[in-house]
Symmetry: C2
Subunit: 447 residues, 2 copies
């Protein structure tokens, strides 16, 4: 392995025969000792810092000036030179594919522009987390390389098909590396698309790329592998940081997850129910006991059809009925509304909504509050909407209702069947009316 | 005052000469004593319960069977029969108008259908909170009676004009009773419309109507009056429950508030900054010290023009460029996007966005994460959006960006001026990049 550092950092590392990914110890002038793996530096970074990944999974940058002593503890294991280990694992480890779709978790910072770009050699991700190789026989499946905002239902189906293949051929669980922007949409899509799921399907990502000291990729990926191998839950879920510190992750049910912060590591929240589990380096603690259990044997089937021509509209005061005309004019066949409060839109929209439902276009009502359930029986506007044929879906998130309508209308065009399936809890996306209300998010997470 | 009860409840109340709104004491068979004001019962309710408002503001229903003794402590003050007090207040109390627009706070349950309908005699609201009459000279201004989902910018301007009149003629503060569905939109609109504001403007509402035992109307209205009279903050703000209990409220800056739960009493959260203040029955505790201060004298001006033809679109994977064609076809002149993550939409939308901005239609980018700030410099999609002319607005909420664009385009049609005003912090709607991140909401509220 070469050494990527330059300048004065390179000098002191080279003097000890240290190369990228070696295990080293640094003793600082203030007496602090740090032990960890040397992380490569990009060409345009400064030569004043040495970056290492500590055993707790956290990356630190150590200023060259502050170093009193530096030691090489162990050379990096060169897996590339041990092909025998690759083909015949010494231990019979569970097989876990890592399906790569793109996103920050497989990216690094371009120090010329400060921007984030995809990795050229994605295996580097695994080099940084050697303990994973003792937990699972992880295979790398580069399925696609796109920013998650560019996903469509065609990509969701491709991923579902790959998951089907992997699980039916004996994988203990499947991990999907994914951009965080739309990870919750994909997680919801996989929840619906995978029928008869009997192993964990885990979406994992990073809010900060793995070459940054504050990366969340290491703990997230470690947790994902742990859930895939040891977790009892056979559902589509998201595993990401559960706190701003690098101490634990949450597994959140795919149909309950929503990205609720642009940049924090703990950006994903479980909406309207507690997370499924809390994962630390040592244990998996089940929080929500109501889940689909992992089974030894089974057969999963990936649905390969979704209806793409569905629209999601968040209502606002002043929204005009011409929005609904547009739905028909552009050939859309389904509409999800994120109304205000309990599920309302201005009453001037109601005649148009009635026309849509009469013409066989399902109109589903959710709430832009996100938390809580809709109830169209309390206020007059709600009752008028019900009378106009609007479909109610309890406490389902707007984004999940969109994905579910794509799935349901891929299966049937019969209005009554669509109404029945949308209102029925299929994957945990609708809770019973007596479920505990979880709000604000912080409320339940420390239960 | 008559007695609205019937059956066995009526019998035991009448025997003591008790009528609606009298102060009574009930001793239950289990020894518990309750002291409070007798609340009227609707015609279709059962005759097995007596409902009273306790001194802590909470309503309780007491089963007739459980009562051991009942006493009349004080007859209700019949303000209607003391017109002298109305015209010449004994104490020189600060003048506070209660502008009524509609909503649950001025509604009651129709027990025939279980639905909520507007009050016929809105003064009943005040009858239930006698302590208010000692705090302020509250006048009732029935401006309109609409469900808040039917508000448009025309109503926002009408309210702003009324506030202007009231404040410039000597009111100490203004309270606006409003439906909760779109209260945060109106609060944001008033923030922008009222230039040179020097007194508090407080929106208040209720998640449960005042005749229900679990009503939040009493504490909310009490807190609103307290803020209007004693509070140091001259801004447009929302005052609503701060916890699921009936113990305190938060004052949330109008441009930072969002209704985040369909039914809970503490449904409003302050997004991306702490609430302005916490209000208990005894005190106002300032949390966010950065606010516009109340002044003795001044002149407020209500802007009377907003641009209504603005569209708000929450993006999703699979959204098609035809949405943006629709903007032009239907004559819209501005577009606010709630992108994913740091502020992204599918790259296939970017050519259309470029066309829009080139044609003089401003396109503003916000994030549907709601929490956190947008940053279009991190990923390629963001940089392409910037290049296509998208306007960035930091950590402004999508709904606030919509209202602000309506306001800004009511003032100017010059693209550069629009860009400058949208990106500039006018009323606390954009925070500096180094502001403390508040997330999850529970994090900061107990500081």
């Amino acid at each position: 392995m070469p050494l990527s550092y330059r300048g004065c950092a390179k000098e002191i590392l080279q003097a000890k025969g240290i190369e990228d990914y070696d295990l080293i110890r640094i003793v600082r002038k203030d007496g602090v000792e740090l032990k960890g793996i040397l992380i490569p530096r990009a060409e345009l970074e400064d030569d004043k810092h040495i970056v290492m990944k500590l055993e707790n999974g956290y990356n630190v940058g150590v200023s060259v000036e502050s170093i009193s002593r530096i030691e090489l503890l162990r050379k990096r294991k060169e897996t590339k030179e041990e092909p025998v280990v690759q083909e015949l694992p010494v231990k019979q480890l569970p097989r876990v594919p890592l399906i790569v779709t793109g996103g920050t978790i497989t990216s690094k910072v371009d120090y010329a522009t400060g921007a984030v770009k995809p990795y050229e050699r994605p295996e580097e991700l695994l080099d940084l987390i050697p303990e994973i190789s003792e937990m699972a026989n992880l295979s790398y499946v580069p399925l696609m390389s796109i920013f998650s905002e560019n996903m469509t239902c065609r990509e969701w189906i491709r991923i579902a098909k790959e998951v089907e293949k992997e699980i039916n051929s004996g994988s203990e669980g499947v991990i999907i590396a994914h951009g965080t922007d739309t990870m919750h949409f994909t997680a919801a899509a996989l929840s619906f698309l995978l029928e008869g799921l009997f192993k964990p399907v885990i979406l994992v990502g990073a809010q900060r790329s793995i070459d940054r000291p504050s990366t969340d990729a290491v703990l997230n990926l470690f947790s994902a592998v742990k859930m895939a191998v040891e977790g009892p839950i056979a559902e589509s879920m998201i595993v990401m940081h559960g706190s701003p510190s690098d101490d634990y992750t949450y597994a959140i049910r795919g149909v309950r997850a929503r990205k609720m912060h642009t940049s924090r590591r703990d950006a994903f929240l479980s909406i309207n129910e507690p997370p499924l589990a809390k994962i630390t380096r040592k244990s998996i603690e089940i929080i929500n006991k109501n889940f689909n259990k992992r089974r030894e044997r089974g057969e999963v089937r990936a649905t390969d059809k979704m209806q793409e021509k569905i629209v999601l509209i968040y209502s606002w005061p002043g929204i005009s009925p011409d929005f609904l005309e547009f739905v028909v004019e552009k050939g859309y066949v389904g509409l999800v509304l994120a109304g205000t409060g309990l599920g309302h839109v201005p009453t001037r929209l109601i005649p148009k909504i009635r026309e849509l439902t009469r013409d066989g276009i399902p109109v589903v009502m959710t709430s832009q509050c996100l938390f809580g359930r809709t109830n169209l029986n309390v206020y007059e506007t709600g009752r008028l909407l019900l009378d106009a044929g609007v479909i109610t879906v309890g406490d389902m998130l707007p984004e999940v209702a969109l994905v579910k309508l794509m799935y349901v209308m891929g299966k049937t065009t019969d209005m009554e069947e669509i109404r029945k399936l949308m209102g029925k809890n299929l994957r945990g996306e609708i809770s019973k009316s007596l479920s505990i209300t979880v709000f604000p998010p912080g409320d339940v997470y420390n239960v």
